[in-house]
């Protein structure tokens, strides 16, 4: 990116129009050259009988150069964290340090087979053991399971343990309280565990209040399984009353589940396990720099307090007399939640990051993540007022409320126009409690220059919305394809290529 006098990113592209690979090449063209047949030929129709197909499959007939160029050209249409800022709130696209990749590719890790004998897996088990220890230290929990494959899987695991805990005491309360500022996966995890959601409304300031929780608890006497709360919430603000709320839940016999998806705003500052939270998942792919999205897989370790340890998934990694081993003898466990030992490659990356940063470094990362979000809010608040007066943590949630009143431009238009200015759009229309939401999370690694450019782009769009609204409403103008018909794509999706005519 080059910076111009206007403070905006200048972009120039040479992009090819690229038809599907099925429409390229020529009859008989091939990228492979097979050696001459040196064994007796067998007739496929004799060999396969009526399973033998009548017609040749219609596969692309292309050369190696055709294929290489096709996919390389398509890749140039793409946008990635290594190209520019990715301000998706809630979905935190963090920088993935290159040293993580180097460590994950060490032959002793990359070449392992998960079915190898325990004594030949000592290094890998030691890494998992140490990762668990350090996650316990950071989060304040007694133990952590590394099995869940992602955040929602972590929620499922956490709720299974909550259910198992209640059942071990001869009870099965069903109600789980969930504020409307929660992640959308929370209610699904509840339903999968045969429990029921009780939605809670957040107050005008965006926070969950103790009164709301007290009232909901009173409505379901003896039937409170727990509370699921995201902190900071999806409004990017800190749930100030969580300690009091946790006490209310505990008194009602319930347990407190914290969705730790936004834990990157708390590292080194708050240890949830020491402040009344009983279970929490941690997204290694959001908080601890392992790749997210297409670069995944994810990893969603779950931390628990002492009394939930018996219910952790099996096996656990134990250390005794200098030897690491897998413990399958856990009669109260909720069982195995993932084939083998979870997404081990992500454990290596997260452990690398934690060891490289250290406690001081992780705390600084938290401070920078919050500072960057607060800085953007300060630059943008006049045109894009925050949805809550409470201070922003790691993300800043605003909306199209002001702009929609003054112009005909809406959130979707702003998002599309940002692409022309060289940025990936932020998360839009989420959280659902904010009409026309724009949810911006810069993360700790973005420089002041990048943040300034991003803010300049949004302010330029706000100006355009008044002076030439059609330019914003028909954006993007500079992409390989113009604005797509998202409605038609959802109502009549074309999921595969079909021959013309």
């Amino acid at each position: 990116m080059t910076q111009t006098k206007s403070g905006l990113v200048e972009t120039r592209h040479l992009l090819h129009h690229e038809p599907p690979i099925f429409e390229q090449g020529a009859a008989g063209r091939s990228g492979a050259s097979l050696p001459t047949l040196d064994v007796p030929e067998v007739s496929a129709s004799t060999l396969f009988g009526d399973l033998h197909r009548d017609a040749e499959p219609s596969l692309p007939e292309v050369s190696e150069v055709d294929v290489t160029r096709h996919f390389t050209r398509l890749s140039r249409w793409n946008y990635a964290i290594d190209i520019g800022m990715y301000p998706l709130g809630s979905c935190t696209m963090k920088y993935n340090p290159k040293v993580n990749e180097r460590m994950a590719r060490l032959p002793g890790f990359a070449g392992l087979h998960p079915a190898q004998a325990e004594q030949t897996l000592q290094g890998a088990l030691e890494l998992m053991y140490r990762l668990e220890q350090v996650l316990c230290e950071i989060s304040g929990f007694a133990r952590v399971t590394l099995q869940p494959a992602a955040g929602a899987h972590g929620e499922l695991c956490g709720l299974m343990m909550i259910r198992a805990y209640h059942q071990s005491q001869g009870r099965f309360p069903r109600k789980v309280l969930i504020p409307d500022s929660a992640h959308g996966t929370n209610p699904a995890s509840v339903t999968l565990n045969q429990m029921e959601c009780v939605p809670l409304k957040t107050s005008a300031d965006g926070l969950l209040s103790a009164e709301t929780v007290r009232a909901a608890v009173a409505q379901h006497p003896g039937d409170i399984a727990g509370l699921m709360v995201t902190n900071p919430s999806t409004l990017g603000i800190f749930e100030e009353h969580l300690a009091e709320i946790s006490e209310i839940i505990h008194q009602a016999g319930g347990l407190v589940y914290m969705d730790g998806a936004n834990f990157n705003a708390l590292l080194g500052k708050v240890r949830p396990g020491a402040t009344g939270v009983d279970v929490m998942h941690i997204n290694l792919h959001k908080t601890f720099t392992t790749p997210h999205g297409g670069g995944g897989p994810g990893s969603g370790p779950v931390g628990v307090v002492e009394k939930l340890i018996p219910f952790l998934p099996t096996p656990t990694v134990e250390h005794k007399d200098g030897v690491y081993h897998l413990n399958y003898n856990r009669p109260q466990s909720v069982g195995r939640l993932r084939s083998f030992f979870g997404n081990f490659g992500m454990h290596v990356r997260a452990y690398t990051y934690i060891r490289e940063m250290g406690g001081v470094g992780l705390t600084q990362a938290t401070e920078m993540a919050v500072l960057n979000a607060v800085y953007l809010r300060a630059l943008l608040h006049e045109e894009f007022p925050p949805v809550s007066d409470k201070p922003s943590m790691h993300e800043y949630v605003t909306s199209d409320k002001k702009l929609k009143k003054e112009t005909s431009v809406q959130t979707l238009d702003i998002a599309k126009r940002l692409i022309d200015y060289g940025f990936h759009p932020p998360t839009v229309y989420f959280p659902l409690v904010v009409p026309g939401a724009l949810m911006i999370e810069p993360t700790e690694t973005e420089s002041k220059e990048t943040l300034d450019q991003f803010a300049s782009a949004l302010l330029a769009i706000a100006k355009e919305a008044h002076s030439e609204p059609d330019r914003v409403k028909h954006a993007p103008h500079q992409t390989a394809l113009r604005r797509l018909d998202e409605t038609k794509a959802a109502r009549q999706p074309r999921l595969r290529w079909m021959p013309q005519g």
């Binding site: 229309y429 959802a490 109502r491």
Partner: protein
């Protein structure tokens, strides 16, 4: 047609009810439809099911979001608007007539007094969005 027809009653969750004796046809309001944008899928309630007022009975999905439809009144679902399944755009085109969602046999006629009139609802939504 008015944005909020006077013969209907409205809820805070943006459903409407056309009450006729012991029965009511229900749907979602013009305001709700505009908040959602282009609707891509509707899951109407199931016939024969009984629901308490305020409980989720179906869902509406748009390019922006998925939303629950709440029962504006307690009762049993006696009819649903099946064409909505294949033509969700009916809701964008005409949410008070072709885009109706279900017909209920009401179990508590007193509840209707607690719904908003067209004027009250118009005032209520002025503060929203």
């Amino acid at each position: 047609m008015s944005k909020y027809p006077a013969d209907l009653r409205y809820t805070k969750d943006h459903e409407w009810a056309r009450i006729d004796g012991k029965r009511a046809v229900i749907g979602i309001t013009d305001f709700a439809v505009h908040q959602l944008g282009d609707i891509t899928m509707v899951e109407p309630p199931k016939e024969g099911e009984s629901h308490n007022r305020g409980t989720p009975i179906g869902t509406v999905e748009s390019v922006k979001a998925v939303s629950d439809i709440y029962a504006p009144l307690s009762g049993k679902v006696v009819k649903t608007n099946d064409p909505l399944r294949d033509q969700p755009e009916l809701l964008n085109e005409d949410c008070y007539d072709e885009g109706w969602i279900a017909e209920l046999e009401l179990s508590n006629l007193d509840e209707s007094k607690e719904l908003m009139t067209s004027e009250e609802y118009a005032l209520y939504v002025k503060d929203q969005g």
